[in-house]
Symmetry: C2
Subunit: 413 residues, 2 copies
């Protein structure tokens, strides 16, 4: 199954610099696809600090279980990611497959199994034949290289229509460090595909606890503020690795996430996470438009986010956007169903700069033509002001199109 590149794809891809301390290689392990790479190996020759956030699903995949088990050490030497099979809902076979993959990786790289991290994306419920990795990982380690980010992003794609890459630089003290990230699609849970995966690596020298704090904070307004279809995969995995190579250039190791020297780094990391999250939304299945939903005036930021997600997950709002219809009645509906404090008669709603409703009714100055012009854009900002308090949140989603139904209604192939 192949689909045209999303019209929301970036016009060009970031130039991804090599990052000291990490090498990568991809291979064709033949998990599901033919004639394309489907396995990625990342190697840290010196142990890297590691942090991770995972799906909240009560039915997580075997690789998610495996990563959670290793994460407390905060130490990583290798990462193996495959596409084509999610190793999810595979029972005892799933656990055996993660053990075998980690064993193969530990032998190839020369590290403990507890220093290996795994992620899988693809079909749910099919046993993963991990013996296929054993034959390729040694060779991959031999040829792994630092200048390989774009190829790495391609190897982890499933129904993504473009690879997702982002890079930032930041100062820690006087030393410039680099952050690179790759991701694959969420809501790209196409015929049995499960997963949003993202891997971010920096050469900064940051202790695991501080790294985890940065990641846990950064994921809130980025990956946890985007939604394609409200469905949560069994395999969502976002990992952040710090090789520490910048120490050789004089960067003083950071142990505390609140250290003043980390401010610029934290800002750069947040920007990179948001960049990747936006790329994921723009490649939502069948997406033609991106919707940015901002809720202001809520009783709290949490309440604002719940209302914003209620709007962004509403099939009726999303189909209206697909139809270029400035249908603010459905926005009111979605505010009302969120169950959060809202006063119908105080609401104001804007599409772009066009205020369509105020004081709980249609704006007297509302112009259908002006609102329709906004809806023809590829990126559509919707703002709802509840006028109750100071809570605010922004989330992003895409429209719900016939192509979404087509992609997800096809038989598993």
């Amino acid at each position: 199954m192949s689909h045209a590149v999303s019209p929301l794809a970036p016009k060009s891809f970031a130039e991804m610099p090599a990052i000291d301390g990490v090498r990568m290689a991809t291979a064709e392990a033949g998990i599901k696809y033919k004639n394309r790479t489907d396995v990625l190996l990342m190697v840290f020759d010196e142990p890297a600090s590691v942090a991770g956030v995972f799906t909240r699903s009560k039915c997580p995949s075997a690789p998610v279980d495996f990563c959670r088990q290793n994460l407390p050490s905060g130490r990583a030497r290798a990462v193996v990611v495959n596409s084509g099979n999610a190793n999810a809902f595979t029972g005892k076979k799933g656990k055996a497959a993660t053990e075998l993959t980690a064993k193969s990786a530990s032998e190839a790289v020369g590290c403990a199994m507890s220093d290996v991290y795994l992620a899988s994306t693809g079909v749910i419920g099919e046993p993963l034949d991990a013996t296929k990795f054993a034959g390729v990982l040694g060779d991959m380690n031999g040829r792994a290289t630092g200048d390989f980010w774009f190829e790495a992003a391609k190897a982890i794609m499933t129904t993504d229509t473009y690879p997702k890459v982002a890079t930032r630089s930041a100062k820690i003290g006087d030393v410039t460090v680099t952050i690179n990230g790759i991701a694959k699609g969420a809501g790209m849970i196409a015929p049995d595909m499960a997963t949003m995966l993202s891997f971010v690596v920096t050469d900064a020298d940051i202790a695991p606890g501080a790294l985890q704090a940065l990641l846990s904070k950064g994921v809130g307004p980025s990956f946890n503020s985007v939604t394609v279809d409200s469905d949560t995969s069994t395999s969502d995995t976002l990992m952040l690795f710090a090789t520490g190579a910048a120490a050789k250039r004089g960067q003083k190791k950071i142990d505390n996430a609140t250290a003043a020297e980390l401010a610029d780094f934290a800002k750069a990391l947040d920007g990179l996470l948001l960049d990747l999250a936006h790329q994921v939304v723009c490649d939502g299945e069948g997406a033609r438009k991106m919707l940015e939903v901002t809720v202001t005036g809520a009783t709290s930021d949490e309440s604002a986010k719940k209302i914003a997600l209620s709007i962004a997950n509403s099939p009726l709002v999303k189909t209206a956007v697909a139809g270029e219809d400035a249908n603010w009645g459905r926005v009111v509906m979605a505010v009302g169903k969120a169950g959060e404090p809202a006063d119908r008669d105080l609401l104001a709603i804007s599409f772009g700069n066009v205020r369509v409703a105020v004081d709980g009714e249609r704006d007297p100055d509302y112009s259908e033509a002006a609102a329709s012009a906004v809806m023809k854009e590829a990126r559509i900002p919707v703002t709802v002001d509840l006028r109750l308090g100071t809570g605010r949140a922004t989330v992003w989603t895409c429209d719900l199109t016939k192509e979404y139904v087509e992609i997800n209604g096809d038989y598993r192939s």
Copy 2:
């Protein structure tokens, strides 16, 4: 905009008997549609007992506010329902419109405004011109008749593809009483259409408090167990009226919902509510298949219902059903995202009588052909056994098709 009748429509409609104590008429008030009836008047010449349940939306329509205000009296003389305009998010104009409509009805019927109940369905955010009712309600009262149920059901349709009617009879003591109900679609929130509306009338003599208890209990496993697209309208209204005319035939008035004499009536009412709720799902926008999701073995009935609704509202499950794909991986995903207690490695999932997964992995005896045969049916039962406890629930939904997107992505007309 016109769409072909749903393939899930009933093959024939129930013969709706007249019910002593209620008369009805419809008219063309010209609210939005041309050449079709768009207003229904129900008249109770003797005061009827009344009970109601309404949308949980924090942004309810003006008629919902109006009904809630009158309901504590438990007394009804007239009901006015219009299609074409929901009188929702219409600010002070909305309240003025309900007042004017109730005043017109009270003058036409000769009752207090507090004995009038209102419901509106249609466009959100457009002021409703209630002066249009003033001219027709008097005439409607003059010609209102008991044998008019099917016409009443037609007058309240918006994008429904068929009228929804149901009737039951029951014994209270030695006296046979009748229950009739009409409904219009949920998730039929088509271009700006908001609303599930249903009106049920019986000739039984039951006090308002008992009536409300019966309705509140009956709505749980029926209307509150169906979902089309997870969106909640601003206007959902379900009202139950008891004319008390059966008292003339010797029925002893019932004051208490737990009275033993009410058992048969309660069962008949529950059956009628479920019948109407199923008719609503089968007319979900673009629906081609009905999905019955049963969750067993949950830690509680409430937990089972949350998981069942998570499955029934999942766009990925619903598109798989549209594609006739026995995609149990997506069912696992939806169980996992519900946030309720579930153990991945205990789950068993069946489509129809075909068990596709057991003990947290694909059933060793799974037959793709047998599962696919189930998916070709118009009504598809999915059962998930969590094997944790005794909680259970069943909910109903329809598939998510390209037609849903088409209907809801069209411009407001």
